[in-house]
Assembly symmetry: C2
Homo-oligomer: 236 residues x 2
């Protein structure tokens, strides 16, 4: 749907709750200096070889072979591989593509339940229209990204018009149905069932924690995502 | 989104509640023999001139100049223009395009709240996967078409799997929120507010009548939509 929206003059919030954007937020929260999102596995490996980045890659919901990390946020938390002070080149099925297609926006930031508060704060400070770019599953609608859009709309409803788009209204209504039991609600999702495994269930529960990292905002700068904590503080 | 879905082997239900598919159902229910859906206004006029069809056209929610009818279902009901036994060439902003893009399906039928029961009956008889093609507004999501998809999913849930697509689940949830007061719910829709006028409000209320024409199923045959009442009865 993205080509139907004009991103110029707007803030793009790119969302791939399971799991790309949740992992990117977790990476920056864990001391990763910056993230290179790339579309192709080969490009990801080349960045690793040339720049000494860690590499992280996933295809069809699984860790790809020959990379340092998969797409689990726990790769940045479990201490198996030291990540503090390192850069990471990351390639995922849906999230990376959504990010690279959003670069016409005035600002491109990464959203997840984990950093919802940071996204809200940034959007308020910018006072520009916000487009939530839901990565979805292979271009199709998915429930968890849409429900995140609804959560964001709810928090912004006091100072933004959230009723001028039917898509935003629908997302808001779905979030209102889901929020009492987000975990139970999203267990219905086809995408969640597709990821069903012990590792994925642990990831799933983690990715739904709202405001785990309320001050971590990954923002696009030139060719990479960096954390914006200080700039947000300065703007406000 | 349509190019992401393979329609072969499936039934496509094309929906443009406000107002193309509601008007097509009403036309066939009112004795119109067949409907030619066309993309361009000029093609619509040419069909009128060459084949003696009535012509109906709408652009951006308003009746287009120089045509017999606009896009209101009341054009077929109010008796101003006799329609029984006539063919109609109809061109609308979104509905016609959605219809013509759905022709790869095994069967293409037209759905509206007005003929929901007929769509349900047909889908059950076919026992093929169903794709609900929501025309939307200029390619974008709109609430009323999605909510119709949810109503259809609810009625088919006893014999179809409605949980394998997140889009279907979301539509079902929105319908469940909406159905207690469909009119009030859809008054929030951006599209509905865009159509807001005396004539449009009357159309709007009419287009939400569930099962007004429970036996009228417009189906695509060669180059036109015809009513399928008898064939449905034969299949069952």
């Amino acid at each position: 749907m993205l080509p139907l929206y004009d991103l110029r003059g707007r803030v793009a919030v790119v969302v791939d709750i399971l799991r790309a954007t949740s992992s990117i937020v977790t990476a920056l929260a864990s001391g990763v200096t910056h993230v290179f999102p790339v579309a192709e596995l080969a490009e990801c490996q080349a960045l690793g070889a040339q720049h000494g980045c860690l590499t992280a890659a996933e295809r069809d919901g699984r860790a790809a072979e020959g990379f340092d990390l998969g797409n689990s946020p726990f790769g940045y938390l479990d201490g198996v591989l030291p990540v503090r002070g390192r850069a990471v080149a990351i390639s995922t099925t849906n999230g990376t593509q959504a990010l690279r297609r959003s670069l016409a926006a005035d600002a491109v930031v990464v959203g997840a339940f984990l950093n919802l508060g940071a996204v809200v704060e940034f959007a308020r400070a910018q006072q520009k229209d916000v487009v939530v770019v839901c990565a979805g599953w292979k271009g199709k609608f998915c429930l968890e990204d849409t429900v995140f859009g609804g959560a964001l709309a709810e928090r912004l409803a006091d100072s933004f018009d959230v009723s001028s788009s039917d898509a935003t209204l629908a997302a808001l209504h779905l979030w209102q149905q889901a929020k009492g039991d987000l975990h139970g609600y999203l267990l219905q999702s086809a995408h969640v069932r597709r990821l069903n495994s012990l590792e994925a269930n642990k990831d799933f529960a983690f990715c739904l924690r709202v405001d785990e990292y309320p001050a971590v905002l990954p923002i696009w700068r030139e060719d990479r995502l960096v954390a914006l904590q200080h700039e947000v503080a300065r703007t406000l």
